[in-house]
Symmetry: C2
């Protein structure tokens, strides 16, 4: 039997990981409580370590079936190092924590020369610097191909960690910026030839930049956590549709997304039009970008907006949480299931979306 | 240019990681100090997090060019899950810390069915249980081949973390048990046919068991840390020769190893004899087992021994630290460089050792 990943996580993994949240994990006079373990299904595990802060820790591997844009030469070794760090730090940011370090696993093939290896390290270093943290170690060695994984650590005042659960009906659903750029890049570039120069160079550059310098939303997560303004939060690294569905399942609420309020990047719109798919569907589909999706009580919206503005940050209200545990998109009074293809492992879903287009 | 891994770590990595130990890494009123970063080259990074304990964290990838015994069907999916957890927890144990959790990265190929996947998870779970900790999350998904990495976290009373540096001339060099079994297994099994049944079945079983149920020396590490008895400590996952050399470089001392005092497992001796290599050389060569190598001041030896015995644990004194930064083996008054092949990436060194034998 070959289940897909969500099934494996739900059925096979939970057999081993259930019930661990709340456990005392230290011994020997050292009091440590695992307040959110693997069974909590948040972006990170959370420890209360008897100090005036909680510890948040998560691991991400960043290369699945293909890191296609790197193989095509569109992303450099520096870029993928940068992405590795950003992807891991994003998980800490999504919990509202302040990053305190990154561990990196870098396994390289014989073909990667010293210059390339140095570039991977330099990219990791630059991202850590940009997000205010340090690469504190990990594992370096060879393998048949490039393998990159990381672990990010962060700290947060106790009780302030942002979780995926917590949204209440009536809370406003928000995102820190447009989603889908990274997914659009993966949909577009492998088929670039067939579009014969019809995507403007500036749009191509914008797609690539989304991969080259992704931004982990550390400052946004901290703002949302400290008051706290957010009742629930998660990064959009599985795409917006999957993220909304996960917030729904975690919180036992539904979501109504107002279609015209979802920001769509012009480059995503241009790719969608070229591929003859609906722009909103492409914007919500599998895309490993690092916006934060979060919920805010209506009464806190103005203060939250003010805090963001004061820090030069922004977010968009795109809908609200509802009683009934289902996610819908509304437009001119009619509703439908959320458009787009949610991320699942084992399938190149974004290609399915593109393949369903008459153009592809 | 294609440098080997030690060169890359020394020259390319240090460019980015030097000088970080001692840095304050928290912000936002959260006081966190990185007391040992990547530049310290210990088994783990160490944080002081303003609580009555230090945090110890390290990552290990467990499959380099080949996990040959698994590919040969000699190790099960359960076994490699178990090994992954043991390898990571060993790094925490080597610092004297109490493990508080493991994050695992499990990427699997399409060929790994649900039963196999479940076995990997079960092996990780069993090892975490055996070493008194929990698998608190990580990353699961697919890839072209099985990829396993982990991150272990541990806590230790402040100031009690065991480091690789710290040995002083005159300190006794000790190990918790015989080394080299895992390396001997990797040297033997791929060439098994050529030995035509000359290795007893019990020896074969012992070699395999060393891979199937490796023991992270958590209790030993705790004992060595709490007094502290050990002035320096590290696990032997690179093999005993490499470990002694690393303790030497970290501490700026030399080591004199008394050849007849190095315990050699009968199965390692049997493989060495079959392959016509020196048993001590095989015992000290690259082998990813998890004994602890440590140094103890002569005045503390009796008390340390007593503590170990009271806990049903054991260790062997195999030499002493010297003034001059060089490692030598002595036998009947004559000395020579440490025998064996120290572990380096990019080469299958243990095969080089075996290949130099007329039998192979």
């Amino acid at each position: 039997m070959y289940s897909d990943e969500p099934t494996r996580v739900r059925q096979l993994v939970s057999e081993f990981l259930s019930g661990q949240s709340g456990a005392l994990v230290g011994t020997d006079g050292l009091d440590v409580q695992l307040s959110a373990g693997a069974d909590a299904r948040d972006d990170c595990a959370v420890y209360d370590i008897g100090s005036p802060m909680s510890l948040v820790v998560g691991s991400d591997y960043i290369r699945g079936p293909k890191f296609i844009l790197h193989e095509m030469g569109l992303l450099s070794d520096f870029d993928i190092g940068y992405y590795l760090a950003a992807a891991n730090i994003s998980d800490v940011a999504a919990m509202g924590a302040t990053p305190i370090g990154l561990l990196s696993v870098i396994r390289y093939p014989h073909e990667l020369d010293d210059a390339g290896f140095r570039q991977v390290m330099a990219g990791i270093h630059q991202a850590c610097t940009d997000f205010g943290t340090l690469n504190v170690g990990g594992d370096i060695g060879n393998a048949e191909r490039l393998i990159l994984a990381g672990t990010a650590l962060g700290v947060c005042p106790p009780g302030k960690v942002l979780r995926r659960h917590g949204a209440r009906p009536g809370d406003l659903l928000c995102i820190t910026g447009p989603c889908g750029l990274l997914g659009a890049a993966v949909a577009y570039f492998p088929k670039r030839e067939s579009f014969a120069g019809r995507l403007p160079e500036a749009a191509e550059q914008r797609l690539l930049d989304s991969w080259k310098r992704p931004r982990a939303r550390v400052a946004e997560g901290q703002l949302l956590s400290r008051k706290p303004y957010a009742t629930a939060c998660q990064d959009t690294s599985d795409g917006l549709k999957a993220t909304v569905e996960q917030l729904m399942q975690a919180g036992g609420v539904g979501f109504r997304v107002v279609e015209q309020d979802v920001p769509i990047d012009p480059a995503v719109r241009a790719v969608a039009e070229l591929m003859n798919v609906e722009p909103l569907a492409l914007a919500m589909s599998a895309s490993s970008d690092f916006q934060l999706a979060f919920t805010v009580a209506p009464d806190d919206l103005a203060a939250c907006r003010e805090s963001f503005t004061a820090s030069g940050l922004d977010f968009h209200v795109i809908g609200e949480a509802t009683e009934k545990e289902e996610a819908e998109a509304v437009h001119n009074g009619t509703s439908r299931p959320l458009p787009g293809v949610a991320w699942k492992h084992q399938k190149s879903d974004i290609s399915l979306l593109a393949a369903s287009s008459p153009d592809a």
